[in-house]
């Protein structure tokens, strides 16, 4: 069974982003970039499926600028067999990415596509569901457990108030939540091996996809800052403050 995983290059989760002075976006020049953490979980799940003998091939796909090659090399080092970059300098919004992935899926015919539930830059949480819609496939979002069977998968999902388990027909889309697994560290020998694995580059035009942004960002600003308050000496002082000053209890 072929598994496709999409990976996005984002500002590293440890970086405190700064809004540009002209309000056009956030500062990404000279900032550490990494694979979106939820996509790492997606890739780890695919690698585990391969180790378990369920998946036969893992294809990692990234859509974006040329530098996404680095993200794909990381994916290959984690355990993807080959990689595809859909290279574009355009701002790729989730619908455009879903359309690109749909075109790739039609070429590659995977039985399962695993994506992170959201990217930590635009926090959209859309691409997986959109891809499922465009392909007419089933979807299981926010997965915390995936059990593969012959023609279906049983997926436990993180939902408000608890967990929900659904059964989805293959081919299917799964998006990952935090507790699905703990991604492995990349080892040096695997980084070396990854350099020899195939990485193909495609363009949106060759896939016949219009990637023009539908949303125009008018401005980006910093959120209003909260002011630090006061330290109080002990529980008694705190209760008094909450009761008489803040009036919340």
């Amino acid at each position: 069974m072929k598994v496709l995983v999409s990976v996005k290059r984002v500002v590293d989760f440890n970086v405190k982003v700064r809004v540009k002075a002209d309000g056009s976006g956030v500062e990404t020049a000279n900032v550490k970039m990494s694979m979106n953490p939820f996509d790492e979980i997606a890739l780890e799940e695919a690698v585990r499926l391969k180790e378990a003998g369920v998946a036969t091939e893992i294809v990692a796909v990234s859509c974006g600028v040329q530098a996404c090659q680095e993200t794909l090399r990381t994916a290959l080092a984690i355990g993807a067999d080959r990689a595809i970059l859909v290279e574009s300098g355009e701002e790729l919004q989730p619908l455009a990415v879903a359309k690109l992935l749909k075109a790739i899926c039609q070429k590659e015919a995977p039985q399962l596509v695993i994506l992170g539930k959201q990217a930590i830059d635009d926090d959209s949480n859309q691409t997986g569901q959109m891809l499922a819609a465009l392909l007419g496939w089933s979807q299981a979002t926010f997965a915390s457990k995936v059990a593969m069977e012959k023609e279906k998968a049983t997926v436990t999902r993180e939902v408000d108030g608890g967990l929900e388990t659904i059964s989805i027909k293959l081919p299917a889309i799964v998006t990952t939540d935090l507790r699905l697994n703990e991604p492995r560290y990349v080892t040096l020998p695997n980084i070396m091996k990854a350099k020899k694995k195939p990485l193909e580059t495609l363009k949106p035009e060759t896939l016949g996809v219009d990637v023009c942004p539908r949303l125009i960002t008018l401005k980006v600003v910093e959120p209003p800052k909260r002011k630090a308050g006061v330290k109080v000496a002990d529980a008694r002082a705190l209760v008094e403050k909450l009761r008489n000053e803040a009036k919340v209890i």
């Binding site: 939902v159 388990t165 989805i168 109080v232």
Partner: protein
């Protein structure tokens, strides 16, 4: 302009998130219809008709809608979409699951988790875990939107008298089926709806130690939450998680105990009205957003706090 709001409900009753979503629809302006898709969901449909400002309730009934499977709900909404300028759902786990599916089928770029409406086509949404706010304008004919409920004050659940109109639902897609649900049973208020939230972090040290917070939560009638660090450490279940990757809350009072205040946690609670932090590390970033802080050992301070709340009535 006519706006369709997809109701969040449990068939019998409406969930509060629906009221915040109707509030967002009112900010956009226009006639508001509420879709109640479910199985034996007359109770929820009746409640939706009572919401102040709602002009019409669409009730779609069918066993295929009983578990809110995204494939079936999306097909239903798409069949209704041509009458609407905007389609809104709350950014709950159901809303986040189904809305992008609707948007893609309509060839629309969805706008996720709006917190303000600037114009009928222009919205404000947090990006980078709330470290920046983007104002975005949609070029699509239909706007498909999820609403961060903490961004909009709920409309009144009564005062309306809308007609309930039945609408046909497409057949089961056959793509997915419901197996089971494990609901965390709790006597406490729901995390996203609670007036007071008591949260613990890695500093709690163990799942067992979270019991220490129970008397405090009891005394304050609070919901209990946790930081991602505490969830990752396996102390408490993921549905307790407050933060960018968990729940977004904005209670009257948020009590952060043994939580350092990572960016990702702050993203989930910084809109709370009053924040209290208890942490032994005086340099912890949580103190930069806390209105009141106690630097001290939580295992000593929390029991004292409970005693003090009892003593001061």
């Amino acid at each position: 302009m006519t706006i369709l709001v997809i109701a969040e409900h449990d068939h019998g009753a409406l969930k509060g998130a629906t009221l915040n979503t109707v509030a967002a629809a009112q900010k956009i302006g226009g006639e508001i219809h509420v879709l109640v898709a479910g199985h034996n969901a007359e109770g929820a449909a009746k409640a939706a008709a009572q919401i102040a400002g709602v002009a019409k309730v669409l009730s779609a009934e069918g066993s295929q809608l009983g578990e809110f499977l995204a494939e079936n709900v999306a097909a239903l909404v798409v069949s209704l979409a041509k009458s609407y300028s905007h389609i809104l759902a709350p950014a709950t786990s159901n809303g986040k699951d189904v809305t992008p599916r609707i948007a893609a089928l309509l060839d629309v770029q969805q706008i996720s988790e709006i917190i303000a409406v600037d114009a009928p086509d222009t919205f404000v949404r947090p990006i980078y875990a709330g470290n920046a706010l983007a104002t975005v304008k949609s070029k699509d004919a239909i706007k498909v939107i999820t609403v961060r409920t903490t961004g909009f004050d709920a409309v009144a659940s009564t005062g309306g008298n809308a007609a309930v109109e039945k609408t046909a639902a497409p057949a089961d897609s056959g793509l997915s089926s419901f197996v089971s649900r494990e609901v965390s049973r709790s006597e406490r208020p729901e995390l996203t709806a609670a007036k007071i939230v008591v949260s613990g972090g890695r500093g709690m040290g163990s799942g067992e130690n979270f019991k220490l917070l129970e008397p405090l939560a009891d005394k304050l009638h609070a919901a209990m939450g946790a930081s991602r660090a505490a969830v990752d450490a396996g102390f408490v279940p993921n549905d307790w998680q407050v933060g960018q990757t968990g729940k977004i809350v904005a209670p009257e009072l948020y009590v952060a105990i043994g939580i350092s205040g990572a960016i990702q946690h702050l993203a989930g609670m910084k809109d709370s009205r009053v924040i209290v932090a208890i942490n032994k590390d005086e340099e912890a970033p949580i103190f930069q957003v806390a209105d009141y802080g106690i630097v001290g050992d939580l295992f000593k301070v929390v029991p004292e706090l409970v005693e003090e709340l009892k003593r001061q009535g």
